[in-house]
Symmetry: C2
Subunit: 98 residues, 2 copies
């Protein structure tokens, strides 16, 4: 029962911090623009999340594992949008020059 309560608290924590992150992802998805989000930030954040994930596996904490998996997926979505935007811009510039 005690361990169950602990996991519930951890799960709720994961839900809240993930929800707090959702507006950013939705905004990037809707505007299809991630120009204001730096690669440095994305890289640092995703590296940190991956280490949290590994840490969660090592200490066998489901809330840490699941919450970080979801956030990693969301951040990679932003990263994907940013890369495709970057390529689009590069193509547009090539066309202009050509």
């Amino acid at each position: 029962m005690y361990a169950f309560t602990t996991e519930i608290i951890g799960a709720l924590a994961g839900v809240l911090t993930t929800i707090a992150f959702l507006p950013q992802v939705l905004r990037t998805w809707q505007t299809r623009s991630a120009g204001d989000i730096s690669f440095a930030w994305l890289g640092t954040f995703v590296a940190g999340l991956m280490l949290w994930f590994i840490y969660g596996v090592l200490i066998v904490s489901w809330p840490v594992i699941v919450a970080n998996s979801v956030t990693i997926a969301l951040v990679l979505t932003i990263l994907g949008l940013k890369i495709s935007e970057h390529r689009g811009l590069a193509r547009a510039q090539v066309k202009e020059v050509g």
Copy 2:
């Protein structure tokens, strides 16, 4: 040794995700402006962080405890700036009306 490596990975994870959050705090601190940051976001995020903190205490995970303490302090700094900004605006409006 195994447990030590685990804690190092957790500590590094905490350092990286906290570093990723610093630019936002520095920006808010320098511009003294938190108008674009919603109370809803701050409330959800800080509630989530506090639950992560409690979860960290329950599972006795130092990385989870320390990383979330630092981030809570940073988010409360933003919240403090936002509240003082809010009050300043309210005073300015009273002056305008008066």
